[in-house]
């Protein structure tokens, strides 16, 4: 416990480029950048594959392969190959590992929409794009957001590990502290990362509560007239 007060009580840890606020901001920046880039690739691709139904096998295989790939190995590989002149060699594996959870959940979400619902939307005269935007995406939103949450968890963890290959962020406290046997820094940094990860988890849980349509999340009672079933 004295390690914690040593770390958080030291005013030197609260200012400068290697202070807690700066490192926290870096961690947020790198994680957000990687997640945004991954979303940019994975969501359109997942919507397309889910909507057309083509290429689903590739999605599932890529998701399994990504789970098997060791993050540390990928980080070291890219940094050794491309050098440390920029942060690009570190960002590439971060993005690569963030893509599969979003991709597979977007795909599964769209594909899992009740075909009757889809047909009804087409029957009402909606175009393909409208069906996707007004029916399929809202219904698939819980799974899409689950994919985003899993990916965000992954990115926060990988950004931590990436401190080993020279990236900034909260992982620095842990990695540098461990290397110099400064255990106050190790423990303090670890606690900060854990809190950061919990905050991210909380944000995505709240996002899910607020953005998913009440009818989809079954927060309101829906009477299904046609089948006579009642779902709550």
């Amino acid at each position: 416990m004295s390690w914690l007060s040593d770390f958080f009580g030291d005013p030197a840890n609260w200012s400068g480029p290697d202070g807690i606020p700066a490192r926290l901001l870096e961690h947020l920046e790198f994680s957000a950048l990687a997640l945004a880039l991954a979303m940019l690739v994975a969501i359109p691709l997942g919507l397309l594959i889910g909507h057309t139904g083509r290429g689903g096998v590739i999605v599932v295989i890529s998701a399994n392969l990504a789970r098997a790939l060791p993050t540390l190995g990928l980080l070291v590989l890219f940094v050794l190959l491309l050098g440390t002149a920029s942060i690009l060699p570190v960002i590439i594996p971060l993005v690569l590992l963030a893509i599969p959870p979003i991709l597979v959940n977007t795909f599964e979400g769209i594909r899992g929409v009740d075909p009757e619902l889809r047909d009804a939307a087409y029957g009402m005269g909606l175009t393909g794009g409208q069906v996707l935007g007004r029916v399929l995406v809202p219904v698939a939103l819980p799974l899409i957001l689950l994919g985003l949450r899993l990916s965000a968890i992954q990115v926060v963890a990988t950004t931590t590990v990436a401190a080993y290959t020279g990236l900034g962020g909260l992982g620095r406290f842990v990695i540098d502290g461990f290397a110099t046997k400064d255990y106050a820094s190790v423990v303090g940094g670890s606690v900060l990362i854990v809190l950061f990860a919990l905050a991210v988890q909380l944000v995505f849980t709240l996002l899910q509560r607020t953005t998913v349509s009440p009818g989809v999340s079954r927060r309101v009672k829906v009477r299904q007239v046609a089948s006579g079933r009642e779902t709550t």
């Binding site: 399994n64 392969l65 789970r67 098997a68 790939l69 060791p70 993050t71 540390l72 190995g73 990928l74 980080l75 070291v76 590989l77 940094v79 050794l80 190959l81 491309l82 050098g83 440390t84 002149a85 968890i153 926060v156 963890a157 931590t160 590990v161 080993y164 290959t165 020279g166 992982g171 842990v174 990695i175 461990f178 255990y183 190790v186 423990v187 940094g189 670890s190 606690v191 990362i193 854990v194 990860a197 919990l198 991210v200 988890q201």
Partner: protein, 233 residues
């Protein structure tokens, strides 16, 4: 760190992987590839097995007493969100720089994935099947072992496949506290910039994961012969 290895790679051609493997496979000293492979197997297998052993009773209890499920699943959901490296670091003060420090968090991640799988698996048992078993005079224990658990196998094994593959790849993060199995090849390659250890490490870890996944698919086929019989008919 010196020049990027990519430029040297283009100049010198691919590294002699096989020669490096042959030289380092079994040196008789600590840290040979064979040694690391053994460590890696232990550190990934123990969490997979322990996770299953612990998730089964937790899942059974959660399926039996539904009020238990939400809070238990909630706790493990939070645990699952914790990055492995800081958890390893915080555990060092309790378990030291040992394999246990890596094994304990991985076991918790495994439970986090397997608990919902066990509960969903038991939930997938059709009500009429359960009632038939009761009507045939099965005791609750016999009903569980001979009827409900076998029917839950596909869902539980699907979760176990995720656990196996991610445990095998996650062990390598332990290299940052000196306990990473094959992950030690990554830190070694980084400290002394050299490509072959990284490639060998990645390939071996992915291969291990694929083998484990294949074995679990095989186990599923053996444990649920009725699935194939139904498909064939």
């Amino acid at each position: 760190m010196g020049e990027p290895l990519l430029s040297r790679l283009i100049a010198d051609g691919p590294p002699s992987l096989w020669e490096w493997i042959a030289r380092n496979w079994d040196t008789g000293r600590v840290g040979s590839i064979k040694d690391l492979l053994g460590d890696h197997l232990v550190m990934s297998l123990v969490p997979i097995v322990a996770g299953l052993v612990l998730a089964l009773p937790l899942g059974l209890a959660s399926a039996r007493w539904r009020w238990l499920y939400q809070p238990t699943a909630g706790v493990f959901n939070v645990v699952y969100a914790l990055p492995s490296l800081p958890v390893f670091m915080l555990l060092i003060s309790v378990t030291g720089l040992s394999k246990t420090t890596v094994i304990i968090p991985l076991t918790f991640y495994a439970i986090a994935v397997l608990l919902p799988a066990v509960v969903d698996g038991l939930g997938s048992v059709p009500d009429h099947v359960r009632q038939s078993a009761v009507a045939m005079g099965f005791t609750p224990l016999r009903r569980l072992v001979q009827v409900e658990l076998p029917i839950a196998v596909p869902v539980v094994l699907a979760g176990l496949r995720v656990v196996a593959v991610s445990s095998i790849s996650l062990v390598s993060v332990g290299a940052l506290i000196g306990q990473g199995g094959l992950g030690m090849l990554f830190t070694r390659a980084y400290q002394n910039p050299f490509l072959p250890p990284v490639i060998v490490g990645i390939v071996l870890i992915v291969a291990l994961a694929l083998v484990a996944d294949g074995l679990l698919v095989l186990a599923q086929r053996l444990l649920t012969p009725w699935v194939r019989a139904r498909r064939a008919s």
